[in-house]
Symmetry: C2
Subunit: 403 residues, 2 copies
């Protein structure tokens, strides 16, 4: 019998009513599979615990933070196992230290290194359904660790990896991955199959269903993921290898951001190493520079440099650049009224002219492109924020995602 | 430097404000002592978790119950350690399994068997203040256990035992142990010193400050206890060995119960073993029989048997007795309108006439005594519930407890 991993997010186990519902979902798998369940904390719990820690200190100990917040999964997992037992199904909750799920790295941001399968496998073989606490780990000195917000997805992927599961089902409060945000565009369609690479681009570009690093973990370990809703019983979206996907569409999805800012330095001395001298202090201050464009100067002496950052980093960026005397420029201008719109699809690798079609479609709607950046499976453009809805809609049509 | 154990109950750590207050109390000890802290869950947390388990099933798994409710201490201890750290005091939270505090026995009602001192002692010697989760344990198979409601007191006593602490301070929301319930009698006085034996009688007879079994643990291990308030800085009550106490009073305290019921079987066949045949099925059904009195029959053939039980056990008791055909009696009568009033004091061992003084004082107030039971340091009488206040007041005066 094959092993399947089911992971339930916070809203899926957000109340006793939801826990009862989820226990029926788990049972429905138990005839065909050996089931391992991973659960997040009940929605609201983690935030409540974090708020208490903030009331104590804005600089609350990372060590105690991990012990504090991991109590949330202890509560949800024991309740869920208790519910299954009350339904007559053999089940047991497992905290990370009981398995153990060994982590390494810093508190709050640990990474799962090793999962000891012995006890859980014995329980599975005896017909039991283990309910494993997501998000938690334990280090080699028996300290409680956590693996970052949204880390329960990573826990599930890693459990799927170590137990060689056939599939990892991520149960959440949306029905799957959409061609674009269905809250913003009504004609958005659920995607049946998407590749890890596309999903990674979707995730890093603003789609909030899964954290990029858990998709990357799945990609590296070739874990097939299914994202689906625990509220309605529909197919959801499969995230898998490129070659498993038969797709006649060039573009798989469109994403947009709403917290970018554009910085332009005018009259920068055009000499080798100038870009590095600007971006090095930003990177040292953990400011992530996204799109970069440098205009060629007419006289070969001066140039204009434009880049984008997250808008919440704008004040810090201004200070760093103004303080750093080695950066010579005439004027700095900035614009928070910008958004990045991206089209994503493995289909564009083999299809010429995608860039042209994108630019033309935007031009038809009088949308001006400020900055462009591309990767193998993605084209991003920076445009005026007020144009985002119009841009997403016309691109969605242009690449036949409405159908 | 001597070790002191400080234990904080749920109301003492019931909010972030209270945790800040408690952190200052802890600090005040740290100059004179090496401090080990035990904490309960924040008040309300444990009940909230238990209520969730009841919403799942009235027969919620004992195993999962222990995992569920022990999350409460995980939260309070990490917050308290985080608060001390924020104040610049070296501190660290310890869950039972991290130490470990090994328990044996059934889930929900485990007993602490062994505490490994190595890691905590090293931390103490390095100048740290360990914050240990009360109520929790772990068994030899790494299962989470708990040691019963109010078990944090037992945790503190056992930690005090294993670490050879000079004293165990139980911080709570009352100022100490009183001669009688101060909510019921205004002239009740705080007791400065009380023996384990007296405190045990006070605790089992209705005083709610500490669970009897934790006092018994302290008595067996000769741990000096101080009960005091975390809300006001006053001396509190010392619970210690009899010979440490200089007390000129015959009676130390008076307690009363308000949930007793009296059962009388009329016309019971008077033959050897008849009492056993009645009480055996009750004990098998975990019904605790307290006071017993058997009248001598005039003809030697029949007798009347009276006993008291907790009033919540009354219906169960009636059923058991009616079902059991081997018990021959003519009629069963019962009375829920009764209370047990007890005077407690080691002084009565060496003072004759205490019983007489008690009975006479009650007689003066026209209070009829229904059943009597005595131990070496206690005299209990069963009276009408409506007479309790009057009885406690007159006995409090009779034995000079008002002064």
């Amino acid at each position: 019998m094959k092993i399947i991993v089911l992971k339930f997010g916070g809203t899926s186990v957000g109340s006793i009513h939801r826990i009862k519902k989820v226990s029926r979902i788990i049972k429905s798998y138990s005839k065909k599979y050996k089931v391992i369940v991973l659960s997040s904390a009940m929605s609201g719990t983690t935030n409540k615990l974090i708020n208490m820690s903030k009331q104590i200190s804005s600089n609350f100990s990372d060590y105690e933070y991990d012990t504090l917040v991991s109590a949330g999964e202890q509560i949800s997992c024991s309740l869920l196992a208790g519910q299954l037992l009350a339904n007559g199904i053999k089940s047991k909750s497992w905290m990370a230290w009981q398995i153990p799920i060994l982590t390494e790295g810093k508190h709050k941001y640990s990474r799962i290194k090793y999962i000891n399968k012995t006890k859980v496998l014995k329980f599975l073989k005896s017909g039991g359904i283990p309910i494993i606490a997501g998000f938690q780990g334990v280090d080699k000195n028996l300290n409680i660790t956590t693996i970052g917000r949204g880390g329960s997805d990573s826990s599930a992927i890693m459990v799927a990896k170590f137990f060689k599961a056939e599939r990892c089902v991520i149960y959440t409060d949306v029905e799957g991955v959409y061609t674009t945000d269905p809250n913003k565009l009504k004609s958005a369609k659920k995607i049946k199959n998407i590749s890890y690479e596309e999903m990674l681009e979707m995730a890093s570009l603003g789609s909030k269903i899964m954290q990029p690093h858990s998709i990357q973990d799945a990609r590296l370990n070739r874990i097939k993921i299914q994202v689906k809703s625990s509220f309605v019983n529909r197919m959801g979206t499969i995230i898998t290898k490129r070659k498993n996907i038969i797709n006649n569409k060039i573009i798989t999805g469109i994403s947009s951001t709403d917290n970018d800012a554009k910085v332009t330095l005018l009259g920068v001395k055009d000499r080798p190493g100038i870009a590095a001298s600007i971006f090095k202090p930003l990177s040292q201050n953990l400011i992530n520079v996204d799109m970069v464009v440098q205009n060629i100067s007419s006289d070969g002496k001066e140039t204009d440099l434009t880049f984008t950052i997250k808008s919440y980093d704008l004040n810090k960026t201004k200070k760093i650049i103004n303080k750093n005397k080695s950066i010579n420029f005439k004027k700095m201008i900035f614009d928070k009224n910008v958004s990045k719109v991206s089209i994503i699809g493995v289909g564009m690798i083999t299809t010429p002219g995608v860039t042209f079609r994108m630019f033309q479609a935007l031009a038809t709607k009088n949308i001006n492109i400020q900055v462009i950046s591309t990767s193998e499976i993605k084209i991003s453009v920076l445009i005026k924020k007020t144009n985002v809805t119009k841009a997403v809609k016309c691109l969605h049509q242009e690449f036949n995602l409405d159908k």
